[in-house]
Symmetry: C2
Subunit: 360 residues, 2 copies
């Protein structure tokens, strides 16, 4: 029986034929999980037509043998990259592909040194990431579960909000609920921002307490069965002012427009522009200080990027966030974020939680 | 009034004089926090005699202005490393130091390209890490609090253990207690390993349930005021067998010996050897599959490394973990870990929790 891991390794081998490399060095944990199922925290993978080898240290040997079937596992001696070099030498690989955005200058130097200059090192950027962008049916089913779970956690988080609690309390409660509902953990540090702190798109929870007439931004995601979700909702404690209502309406319309634009074949830059256009119409374009969204999967930030001028076209199986927002110092911020999957003929919103302005 | 950040930047400038570089590029978040107080998640810092500049994106501009005083903040245009290159060009830096273990091959290429070949790029490894190894009194005071908090969480975690709970439940409870006690979060993914899974030194919590006559390894740490702690305890559900008792005694003696060896001036390799020697005496040396410990601070793994053959000598202000263990497939594992700080004339154990075998 062939596992998805086996099939994916075959896809790498087939892509390698289009390059000059005879094997590919993989150092990103999400990539080696994608290709082998190995969940250890340190190691390096070498995929070639002759088979796949994993080098890891003593802490992860048992795990490697249990999780990664159909590949060779070798325990590192000395530093990881010296051992990888030795493996390359022993396997007589003369052309090794590596991802220049994932190997540090000193790792490349060390692995090069260990092969004694007998191998050529070729930049092969983003090969596994390209495969990972197109999720298969099983991955989408898993991400749907992760997204639904995030929506449920969001609703519990919102119910927990009341004047007097600290941002840290809300973050603790939210991450506790994630685990209670079965997540293996948060996909990223949960963002809880009250009042003026909501003007920081990536605020870290502090001991600030929630007061009346403040905005609340909750941005959270879970990892479930290795896959991430990511959702944001904005609430107001009390009755929102007219300005807050207008801003909220603008962000919601921007998000709706971007979701509608996120179709199979659309360019990523056009999806970003759809959100930006709406906010410009409200004269709020200058308050939208980040991009519209990002790919989501084994990592919480993956390709494709939904940002200004991105020319890549959406394809079936792409899972992305759509998360426009507006931010003003001294006032706060509003962001609404959902996860969507692009199908051949439609776009499905994976996260399920009401999107109207929440007044507490 | 000069902040510690200011003093540390001056130390970097003074170390730079011993190199050919006129400025240092810093891309590791822990390093830029150490030098400026900036807690954003994306950016790059350039420290030179002419002052310090931070390049970051729109999401972190407000935060940068609030947190990082006495430095220039510039918003990135295009990619981060293009903007850094532009900054280097505008500042007429001709020799830029960078850490080859922290810059990827493509980041170096991108920043080099953006300066149009007018700057020389010099590898300057580990300069800020070297400063960070010697914690000052305020840092040690903060780490003492983080260590005590971890000990308290450990004791709550142990009280939570009972047959039938899942590893994931214990991890959720532990991380919830961290936050309740004031931590900003876990320093790393909490390790909860029951029974045979305790043979994996870095097991991730699963839905496995705790049964009678099983070992339990809990390895946890908190972040408090930006600094990390790290503690491990091993428990047994029921009355431990003679073998488990002997193994536990061996690990405890190994840890005690390593703590005694961890004195100002001792070599890191000798501390590792002290633990290894004891386990060898028990004929358990082959089951100790990792190194004895690691530095701890703003990051959970820092220099110095306490591993075989490490020649670096311990100095006052070094904070390290001491964590020998034994692991056997099919049986489980035992690990005991505490954090210690090296003073000029003594070594202080920061973590406070009983170290005897816990029987539940």
């Amino acid at each position: 029986m062939k596992t998805p891991f086996h099939r994916r390794r075959r896809a790498v081998v087939s892509l390698l034929r289009e390059t000059k490399a005879s094997c590919l060095l993989i150092t990103n944990p999400a990539n080696w999980y994608y290709l082998t199922g190995f969940t250890g925290e340190s190691g390096a993978l070498l995929v070639s037509q002759k088979g796949t080898g994993l080098v890891t240290d003593g802490r992860f040997m048992v795990q490697a043998h249990e999780e990664a079937t159909g590949i060779r596992v070798r325990q590192q001696k000395g530093s990881l990259f010296e051992s990888v070099g030795q493996y390359v030498k022993d396997s007589h690989f003369s052309q090794v592909g590596f991802d220049p955005s994932q190997l540090t200058v000193s790792q490349l130097q060390s692995v090069r040194g260990a092969t004694g200059g007998r191998s050529q090192w070729l930049p092969v950027p983003g090969m596994v990431e390209t495969l990972r962008m197109r999720k298969d049916a099983a991955e989408i089913a898993q991400m749907r579960k992760a997204a639904i779970l995030a929506g449920e956690v969001m609703q519990r988080g919102i119910r927990f909000l009341k004047p007097g609690i600290r941002e840290l309390d809300a973050a603790a409660e939210i991450e506790y609920q994630m685990r209670k509902l079965g997540a293996s953990g948060p996909a990223f540090e949960t963002i809880v921002a009250f009042g003026e702190r909501a003007a920081l798109p990536h605020a870290r929870p502090t001991s600030k307490r929630l007061r009346k007439n403040e905005l609340v931004v909750l941005d959270l995601g879970v990892i479930l069965g290795h896959y991430c979700s990511d959702i944001t909702r904005t609430a107001f404690v009390g009755r929102a002012t007219r300005r807050i209502r207008t801003w909220y309406q603008a962000v919601l319309e921007a998000q709706t427009a971007a979701i509608a634009a996120a179709k199979n074949g659309a360019s990523c830059g056009d999806v970003d522009a759809a959100a930006r256009q709406v906010l410009k119409g409200y004269r709020l374009g200058h308050l939208f200080v980040h991009s519209t969204g990002h790919g989501l999967g084994l990592e919480v930030h993956e390709d494709p990027k939904l940002a200004r001028g991105q020319k890549r076209h959406l394809e079936p199986g792409n899972v992305i966030t759509i998360e426009p927002g507006v931010y003003e110092e001294g006032i706060g911020g509003i962001r609404i974020e959902d996860d969507v999957v692009v199908h051949a003929d439609r776009t499905e919103v994976l996260t399920r939680a009401p999107r109207d302005l929440i007044e507490i």
